[in-house]
């Protein structure tokens, strides 16, 4: 395989890792206003992702930087073309980041309600815009012969991209719910499990519709054959179907299936895109491809060595972090972050 395609694959891996991980912490955020019944439960629900959300978001930083380094023309066209959409993403992510650190810093109910809402709004908003943005890469946006975007903000909103945005929300809400069934106990667990069963239906329906449509869009707008996109799409639908079945009793396996469903959704989108990285519409010939957007061979070779050394190490210590924080959290057990900014004592 040539280095350009290898790096396309690596970037797909980074986006997959990002949505697999941040997908459930978006989901946990989306459910914050609806599932917990009191302050203790809200604290527990936030703490399920408290130690790991920043490590999850790292994969976005990595995906962005890797795109810059390996496909400068793709990075330049996408980030400048999707300007206002990315501005919105930044807004949603920033209020979300701050909600984690700042919410616990005061006990005032108003303050806490505001930051809880910020977390939820940030989670819905970021999921929606990511769906719209990534789907637009495939659906096509107007590019000139230099690869510069010539459209308006509204060119990003096609029926397909809006479907993608809504699907991302439904998928991550379900993924977050199955995650919570693994990390909570007691009354909160019961309510989360019930919520996961309900959420499995929209996730399955929208997910299946989106995956099938993606294959169609790939064939009609990106000159692709039915195969290979149909393969990850079919597997993705199967994973979501299994998740919907398993969530009625086997919550651990349901989480594995929502994780798989999320990854396969990302993989379907990018498989449908390859060998293009950004489709131009109406002038298809201006599309950016893996070849014309990539860095030179030497840069890609250097990056390959860097990725080969660092990615396994990052995966290892992140897996260890998840192992450290694998314990279920319940309303009756004191959380390891203080509910009030001051109440915790370390065990010394």
């Amino acid at each position: 395989m040539d280095l350009e395609s290898l790096w396309f694959g690596i970037i797909v891996f980074f986006w997959s890792a990002y949505f697999l991980l941040e997908g459930f912490d978006f989901g946990v955020g989306m459910l914050l206003p609806f599932v917990p019944k009191n302050e203790a439960e809200r604290n527990v629900q936030i703490e399920t992702i408290g130690p790991v959300w920043d490590g999850n978001e790292v994969w976005l930083v990595i995906a962005g930087a890797a795109t810059f380094a390996a496909f400068p023309a793709w990075y330049a066209s996408m980030f400048s073309g999707f300007y206002l959409a990315l501005l919105l993403v930044l807004f949603f992510l920033i209020i979300r980041v701050l909600s984690f650190e700042w919410r616990a810093k005061s006990t005032s109910p108003g303050w806490r309600a505001v930051w809880l809402l910020a977390n939820a709004v940030g989670s819905y908003g970021a999921a929606l815009i990511w769906g719209v943005g990534l789907a637009s890469l495939l659906y096509g946006v107007p590019l000139d012969s230099d690869g510069d975007f010539t459209g308006t903000f509204w060119d990003l909103f096609s029926p397909f991209s809006v479907l993608a945005g809504i699907t991302f929300i439904a998928l991550f809400a379900f993924h977050g719910a199955t995650f919570l069934t693994l990390r909570t106990t007691g009354a909160l667990l019961e309510r989360v499990a019930a919520r996961a069963r309900v959420l499995s239906i929209p996730a399955l329906v929208l997910g299946a519709a989106f995956l099938a449509t993606t294959v169609g869009v790939a064939m009609h707008r990106n000159d692709k054959d039915l195969f290979p996109p149909v393969l990850p799409a079919a597997l993705g639908i199967a994973a979501l179907l299994l998740a919907a079945i398993l969530v009625r009793g086997r919550s651990g396996w349901a989480f594995v299936m929502t994780a798989l469903g999320t990854v396969l959704t990302v993989v379907t989108l990018f498989t449908s895109l390859y060998p293009r990285v950004m489709v131009s519409d109406p002038t298809f010939g201006n599309s950016l491809t893996v070849e014309n957007a990539a860095s030179a061979h030497y840069t890609l070779a250097v990056l390959s060595v860097v990725a080969l050394i660092t990615v396994p190490i990052v995966l290892l210590y992140q897996a260890w972090a998840y192992r450290v924080f694998r314990h279920r959290l319940g309303g009756d057990e004191p959380a390891s972050t203080p509910a009030a900014p001051v109440s915790t004592q370390p065990e010394v």
Binding site: G50, F79, S80, Y83, F91, S295, V342, V348
Partner: protein, 464 residues
């Protein structure tokens, strides 16, 4: 009506967001190791007061770190959003250290800081301490890769030009760029100065209030042990860094001295009125120290420093007709603001250490107030330093290779820029207000009581 151009707005936005980002980064760089040292002392001695200090300053570190992360994401996106021509031009070279930063450094700091914050009860004390040191290592590695990227814009190395874009030819040349190594030492020292001066200022504030004096005396001692050598060393390193700039960017040095004509030996202008524009090259009034500029720029008291007029002629011959002289007034003053702030911080640290040694620190109220106010100095110095570095490079975005005016995103209209600029200013001002409110609230907390005052005084208070 002449409105600002797209390039002007893009520059203003990048300047605003990166200066703001850099309010939080160096404090994290400096406070991180200081908190890690406190926890290490607690780990070794089991002295409860060091645990309380760890948690007290750890909270400030985390409030600050959150904004650093949030605003850092903006920086990464902004290259592509606002500077698409630049991104295509440099991506082959400039993208590599950013990718290395993400994979090798940021992942480390984000993951391990999470482990540290939530790991008090889950990890053994030794392992828990290690997570903080690893997170600190991550922040320091992160700084290196970012400065490698920035330094390539100041002094491009290890590349060749192919079809109008820069391509990497030597990653070792990129990573060992002399400019980057000097910038790294300068910036990490700045981080330590941030951490120690802010920590010292907070201690002095507690002395003024007369609360927890014994506890904060230990912290003040630690802060001074770092601040005195760091501020002193920075005066030397900053000067050496100037020499590196002289060889890579003569225009920047000449502008920072408002040196219009080549001189040998050259006096250092301490203060001057006028003499900042091509039409007005002779100052109306100036205080000059003979030969000092020669020494600062070249390391020799007889060194030659090229003047703006001569450099302008050289660059015109090399690159065509244009104005290659940056805004002399801004560069001249930003250099002096940075240097004066650096000297004052050294004096604050040195006087503080002397008072501490004489056991008079807690009662020297005039000095305590000075130290509290001095917490603003690292922020002023860092901002002036970056203005000098980035505006001193103009009109280039990559020295000698690409001009700023040619580098912005053609697809981003002034309307979009106006929207995003107002957005960032509004959001960032709001965040700053909340951040200062939170930092104040936590910094004035007695390390043993909570803000609502209902925790038992014996508790090692202030969680995260």
């Amino acid at each position: 009506m002449t409105l600002a151009s797209a390039v002007d707005l893009a520059r203003l936005q990048f300047a605003t967001t990166s200066i703001y980002h850099f309010f939080f980064v160096p404090l994290t760089l400096g406070l991180g190791p200081l908190v890690a040292i406190m926890q290490t002392i607690w780990h070794r001695t089991r002295n409860e007061s060091w645990l309380r200090l760890t948690r007290f300053f750890g909270t400030l570190l985390l409030i600050n770190f959150a904004i650093g992360v949030a605003t850092g994401l903006v920086q990464e996106f902004e290259f592509g959003m606002n500077w698409s021509v630049y991104s295509r031009f440099v991506g082959n070279v400039f993208g590599a250290p950013l990718a290395m930063e993400g994979l090798g450094a940021f992942a480390l700091e984000a993951t391990f800081l999470g482990l540290w914050i939530f790991g008090w009860n889950r990890l053994s004390p030794r392992l828990h301490l290690a997570t903080l040191w690893i997170a600190v290592l991550g922040t320091w590695m992160s700084g290196y890769f970012i400065l490698v990227a920035n330094s390539w814009m100041q002094q491009p190395v290890g590349y060749k030009m192919v079809d109008g874009e820069a391509q990497l030819t030597s990653v070792s040349a990129l990573l060992s760029n002399g400019f980057a190594l000097r910038a790294y030492v300068h910036t990490m020292l700045a981080g330590l100065i941030f951490g120690s001066i802010v920590m010292f200022g907070i201690c002095c504030w507690h002395f003024l209030r007369g609360r927890e004096v014994d506890l904060f005396r230990s912290a003040a001692k630690l802060a001074l042990i770092v601040a005195v050598p760091a501020t002193l060393l920075q005066l030397v390193v900053g000067n050496r860094f100037g020499e590196a700039v002289t060889s890579a960017q003569g225009m920047k040095i000449a502008a920072s001295e408002a040196q219009w004509n080549t001189c040998q030996p050259c006096g250092f202008s301490v203060f001057q009125i006028g003499g900042f524009t091509a039409d007005d090259q002779t100052p109306k009034f100036a205080i000059t120290i003979p030969r000092l500029l020669s020494y600062m720029a070249t390391g020799s008291f007889d060194g030659q420093v090229q003047g703006l007029n001569q450099l302008q002629q050289q660059e015109q011959r090399a690159y065509g007709r244009d104005n290659y002289i940056p805004d002399v007034r801004v560069i001249y003053w930003s250099m002096r603001v940075m240097a004066i702030a650096g000297v004052v911080m050294f004096l604050v640290a040195a006087v503080g250490a002397w008072l501490y040694w004489k056991r008079k620190l807690e009662r020297a109220r005039w000095f305590l107030w000075t130290a509290v106010v001095a917490m603003a100095l690292p922020y002023i110095a860092a901002t002036a330093g970056w203005i000098l570095t980035e505006m001193g490079r103009q009109p280039w975005i990559v020295q000698g290779l690409l001009k700023t005016a040619d580098a912005n995103s053609p697809s981003v209209s002034t309307t979009w820029l106006a929207i995003s600029l107002s957005f960032f200013i509004t959001l960032y001002v709001a965040l700053l207000v909340v951040d200062v409110w939170l930092m104040r609230r936590y910094a004035r907390l007695d390390a043993s009581a909570d803000p609502e005052g209902d925790a038992p005084a014996a508790a090692p208070a202030v969680g995260y």
